[in-house]
Structure formats: structure tokens, C-alpha cells
């Protein structure tokens, strides 16, 4: 391939990498693109964590996929070639790893070849590095092939190009990571503040995490867009913030509420929607919708507005089911948890009455995933606030 064409290709790869915001997908994409660019039979990607490299992705046309190595840790040191590149930031191009010249400043571990009955010949190792910074990882490419598919060495002309690709990859990884961290922090904040709001009635523990995940699973099962799924995941934990507007005397009352008290309790839907009103962000707008409508019923017998069918936003119809499922399937101070059989029977019976039949259908189809979440978020992660 002509050098100009390679440079063009490099540009295209750069754009494709910066477009990808999913960290895991990005890791695979970097390795795939780098291998196709250099015509390498295999390769691996390591990300630095402190003074170690974390082995994350490996690809090889000749070997079956091997995820077993994922998470393996290699110290930054000259005891391995990847560790050496991560430590020094040098690019290393080796013609044959079995014929290293005298005085090579790093060691090569060939146990991988022995264990997999594989023969590594050429290697090209590049630091993943924004200009001037410490490497954030290492890209290792193995066994260059010429156009005829025969083993060859990595053309030194590739070196600056692969260096540039690795910089682009480092920036893209950093962006995806920052974006992911911000999302995680956001979600964590929503949970903490919403949980704090709900914890005045101490029934909750992991209630909100479960509602969020149940709603996410239901939306996925119904084939909703990734955007909708993400929005409902973030928005659903805020469905009951309006309870902040309900006085302690009603919210924490041990016995049965009077009609008047129950009416005031119902206002948490309206108060919640008010707290979340007039937002620019989609997540808050959807949480407003959910706060207002998650006690409506498909047959029109819910509150606060008694709307029915598809007049109730889909988000509200989904959270309605998730909320009731969780209430019935959990122990509360005034009742035991129902058996799953009874809960499922109740929800099926309420299809078209309390619940949207389409949501009930999705619920039946993804019951297994829902029960897994229930399991996970009732024992291991119990919170004590």
C-alpha cells in the first residue's frame, strides 16, 4: 500500500476511534484497527494501573479466543517486554523474538508460545500515550504478514504511523474513561440522594437499585432504544422523591392511614413532578414523567389523574410494574415477602387492569434476569443507611 494511502487510512481510523464512547468496545476496536493496519496475525492490549499493566484484550487469527488471560497483571519493569515499554515509553520493533541481540534491556517470556503451541516471530510494541504524558497502556502486535499471508517483520515505515494511531487511541480511551466515570458518579449521586430521601421510611435498602435495574431490563426486553433504556435507568430511582413533601406524621405512621391522610400521601406524585419540572435534561424530564405517573393504572383507576392505557407514558407503565413487583416480592415491616409464584400470578392477573399487557408480557419473558437482580441486590449489597 502506498504511504499516502496508509496516512489516509490512519486518519479514518483516528476518527472512528474518537467516535467510540464505550470503553470496552473501544479496547477491542483499537486492537482490531491496529492489527488490520499493520497486517498483524495477533495482538494484545494492556492498560496501566499504578505500577502494573493490566492485560485486557487479546486477538489472534490462528488461536481460539482466550479470555482467560484478562485481568492478568504485569509489573512495569524490564522483566517483560510489555512492562518495559509501559515503563520507558519506547517503541520496540523486533524481527524475531527468538533471536534477540546480546544486551537487550528486557526479557521475553515465551511460555505463551509453549502453552499454546504457537510460534511468535515478529513483534511491534507501542506505548499508548498522549504526547509527553506517561503511557496509559501498551499495544503489542504479533507476527506481521505480507500481502501473500507469509510471515515477515513489521516495516519500520509503520513505526511513526502506529505511534500516531496509539496517541489517538490513548486520547479516545481517556475520553471514554472520563465519560464513563462521570456517568458512574452521576448514577451514584442519584441513588444516594434519592435513597436518603426515601430512607425516612426505612423499608428501602436496595429498593431503588432494584427498581432501576428492573425498569432497565423491562425496557430492553420491549426492544426500546439504548437511549430510552439508559434514560429509564437513571430516571427511575427518582420516582418517589416527592415523598419529601409528605409530613413525618403521615409517612412514618405505623397504623392504617385515614382517607384524608391517604389523599395527602398520594400527593407525593404531584410534588415529585414539581421538584423535577422544567428541566433541560432528558433524564430529569423523564423522571418527572415517572414521578407523576407511576401510580396510574392501565384501566384508569390509578392516581393522581386517573389516566389510562397509552395516555400513561411508557416510562410510567414500566416503573409501575417494577415498583409493585418489588413491593410484593420484598419483606416490609407490616408484611412478609410473597412467594415469587404468587407475585407472578398477581401481575399476570392484573394485565390490562393495573398493568399494560405489553409490559406484563415483557416481564414474563425476562423473569429470569429480574430474579437474578433481586437475588443480587438483597443480600450482598445491603446498605445500612
Amino acid at each position: 500500500m502506498k504511504y499516502e494511502e496508509l496516512l489516509y487510512k490512519l486518519n479514518k481510523i483516528g476518527i472512528a476511534l474518537s467516535k467510540e464512547r464505550n470503553y470496552e468496545v473501544l479496547l477491542e476496536k483499537i486492537l482490531t484497527e491496529a492489527r488490520s493496519f499493520t497486517r498483524a496475525e495477533g495482538g494484545s492490549l494492556y492498560i496501566r494501573e499504578g505500577q502494573e499493566l493490566l492485560f485486557l484484550v487479546s486477538q489472534n487469527d490462528k488461536l481460539p479466543e482466550n479470555k482467560g488471560l484478562r485481568g492478568l497483571r504485569i509489573p512495569l519493569s524490564s522483566n517483560s517486554i510489555a512492562g518495559y515499554v509501559g515503563m520507558t515509553g519506547e517503541l520496540i520493533n523486533i524481527e524475531d523474538v527468538y533471536k534477540l541481540p546480546e544486551g537487550t534491556p528486557y526479557k521475553i517470556n515465551l511460555s505463551f508460545d509453549q502453552e499454546n503451541n504457537y510460534r511468535t516471530h515478529s513483534m511491534l510494541l507501542v506505548p499508548l500515550q498522549e504526547s509527553g504524558d506517561q503511557p496509559i497502556g501498551v499495544l503489542a502486535l504479533i507476527n506481521a504478514k505480507n500481502i501473500a499471508g507469509e510471515a515477515t517483520s513489521f516495516d519500520p515505515r509503520y513505526e511513526p504511523l502506529v505511534h500516531s494511531l496509539a496517541s489517538q487511541a490513548a486520547v479516545a480511551l481517556r475520553n471514554a474513561q472520563l465519560h464513563g466515570e462521570l456517568k458512574d458518579a452521576y448514577l451514584d449521586t442519584i441513588f444516594r440522594l434519592s435513597r436518603a430521601a426515601e430512607c425516612r421510611d426505612m423499608d428501602t435498602a436496595n429498593h431503588l437499585e432494584r427498581i432501576s435495574l428492573y425498569s432497565t431490563i423491562l425496557a430492553e426486553e420491549m426492544g426500546m432504544s439504548p437511549k430510552f433504556v439508559e434514560n429509564i435507568r437513571y430516571a427511575s430511582p427518582m420516582h418517589d422523591v416527592g415523598k419529601l413533601g409528605v409530613p413525618d406524621s403521615i409517612l412514618l405512621k405505623p397504623g392504617k392511614l385515614t382517607d384524608e391522610e391517604f389523599n395527602e400521601m398520594k400527593n407525593h406524585t404531584i410534588f415529585g413532578a414539581k421538584i423535577l419540572s422544567d428541566a433541560c435534561s432528558e433524564i430529569i424530564t423523564i423522571s418527572e414523567e415517572i414521578a407523576l405517573t407511576h401510580h396510574e393504572r392501565f384501566n384508569g383507576k390509578g392516581y393522581p389523574n386517573g389516566i389510562s392505557g397509552e395516555d400513561i407514558p411508557l416510562s410510567g407503565r414500566i416503573v409501575a410494574l417494577a415498583d409493585v413487583f418489588d413491593a410484593l416480592a420484598s419483606k416490609r415491616c407490616y408484611k412478609d415477602a410473597w412467594s415469587i409464584e404468587n407475585v407472578v400470578a398477581h401481575i399476570k392477573k392484573e394485565s390490562g387492569q393495573h398493568f399494560d399487557p405489553k409490559v406484563v408480557e415483557a416481564f414474563e419473558n425476562c423473569l429470569e434476569r429480574i430474579l437474578k437482580v433481586r437475588e443480587e441486590y438483597s443480600i450482598h449489597k445491603a446498605q445500612s443507611i
Copy 2:
């Protein structure tokens, strides 16, 4: 410059653009890089909003900076050349805008030249566009110069390169925008949920926005890092979430609290820290620190732990001052707002007692900005929840 060198340069620009996460800085950088790449005397950048282009940045080596045009709206139509490019996604390279051939499908408005006594010769217009998508904006480059600095036309060889640069720019803009939107949504959520929590004692209205901005300004004035400044901006609104753990009977009591009640009230610091404990995100960790320590005093006479001096985290020392300033300078149901002179005198008197002298010094230096925030967040943006 050789074509290969141009391709290299393009790669470097691509990496630099994807690194920039600040939207405003990025806009300027795209135009600067594109002008330097094509040796253009001037240029402008438009971003699409619905069926219009928003004029955002303009640069010209021969003209004084003109921010007056910022925000000007141009419809997507053939009535202007930028509107035409935004509508069709075509790249347009014109040798002389005063000699357009017959049948040109767009009009050119030359009033800019007349008003500024400027002569536009060549123009190169490129859609800002991720491959296949609708353009998100238009990049317009004006008056190409050769190495000697003489007017020339844009070399057609540049076209695919500038096209590639524009794709890279589009991706970077989209990333910066998404990141910005996520941050805005996050901040909005923190305000709404924290405000809801505080609103049980209806004194607050814009209290939290003001605390957040006062703390931000103080941290900036003290020369803290941008990261610290951003963290305190996000974390400070959560300083009183622990009030959720204080019963209505104490929180909403009209008269003076008994000693016992006051002790229970003080626990909102501990309860708040508990709500925010053991987080992975920096923002929440700092908000935990603030929740716990914003009632400590520099002389050790505060609560809950009676720590003093620099044992109190800086974030807590800053929010302590911001919180007291706001309480004194605002009207509450049981008191009028103090005059600013009295508030400032009180804070200066408490330097080294209640407050860290360094924070008091910063406060005096940035009083003007603080008063501007106070002004802005007490009248115009009053909230009613």
C-alpha cells in the same frame, strides 16, 4: 509543503482536537488549526441548530476581533453560501467570490466586505460532518495565501484533507457537547434533589445555587486547581442532605430548640456524611467531607468533632464561610437580611475564630463577584418548590 507532511500534520491536529473537552475552547481551536493548515487569512465557524446555522466564531488576521456577529442566525437555504453547505453537505471551493459562474446554486452576501472595508477573494467551505450524518455545522475559510503571503486560491489537493479535518472536528464537538450536557444534567439533578431535601424548611429557594457559586468563586480566588474548583462546585450543594435524618418536629419547630433538640439537629452533619460515605467518585467523597465539616470552626469550637485549623479540610472551611455569609445576607422567617457592611464586618471579625483567615482574605478579594451572584440568584431565578 509535501503532501505526506500535510497528512502527518492532519493527524496531529486530529489528536489535538479530540483531546479538547471544553466546547468553547474547541470551537476556537478548530478554526485556528484549519486556518493554519490551509494558510487562510480568515474564517468562521457555524453550528447547526434545527433549520438554522448559528454563527459562533470568527477569526481574521487583517480585521480586529469582532464578537458582534456571535449568535447571528442564518437559515439552511441557498440564500447564503454557508446555509447552502449546511443544507447539502457539499464542499465548496471558490476562486473569487466576486466572479461566480452563471447558474451557481447559492447566493453570496457581500455586505460583510462593504461594512468592514475588506476584500474576500477565495473561499473554502466544508461541512462539519461525521460520515453519513447530517452536517452539524459549517467551516468557512477565507482568502488563501501562498508562502510569500500573497492572495491565492485554495489548492484542490487540500479538499479531502480539510474534509477529514472537519470530520474529526465534528466528532470532537459532538463528544465535548455530550460531555457538557451530561455535566449540566448532573449538576441540575444535584440541585433538584438537594433542594427537595432542604425544602422541608422552606427557607432555601436559591440557597444551594448560591452556596455552590460562592464556594466556586472562593476556591478560584484561592488559586485552587480547576479540578478542585469543579469538585467543590458540584459537591457543596449536598452539604445539608443530612437534614433528611432530622425529624419534622425539630427541623420545622417554630421556636427555639432545647439543648437536646439542638444536639439532634447537629447530627445532620454526621448523617449527611453517612449518606455520602464510601463512594468511588471524587465529587461524592468531597461532598461527604463537606457535609461532615462545614460546621467546624477554625478555632476548634464547632461541631460535630471540634477539630481546628487545617485539620478541617479546605472544602469544609470554604463552605463554612459561604454558608454563613448566605445565611446572614438573606432574609429568613425569623430575621431580616443583614446589610452587606454588617455581614462583611462580622466575617472579618471572625477571621481566625470561626473562619480560616486565608478564606476570609479570598472573600474580601472577590466580594464583588460574590455580590453579583447574590444579586442574580435572589431575584430573577427565584424557584417556588
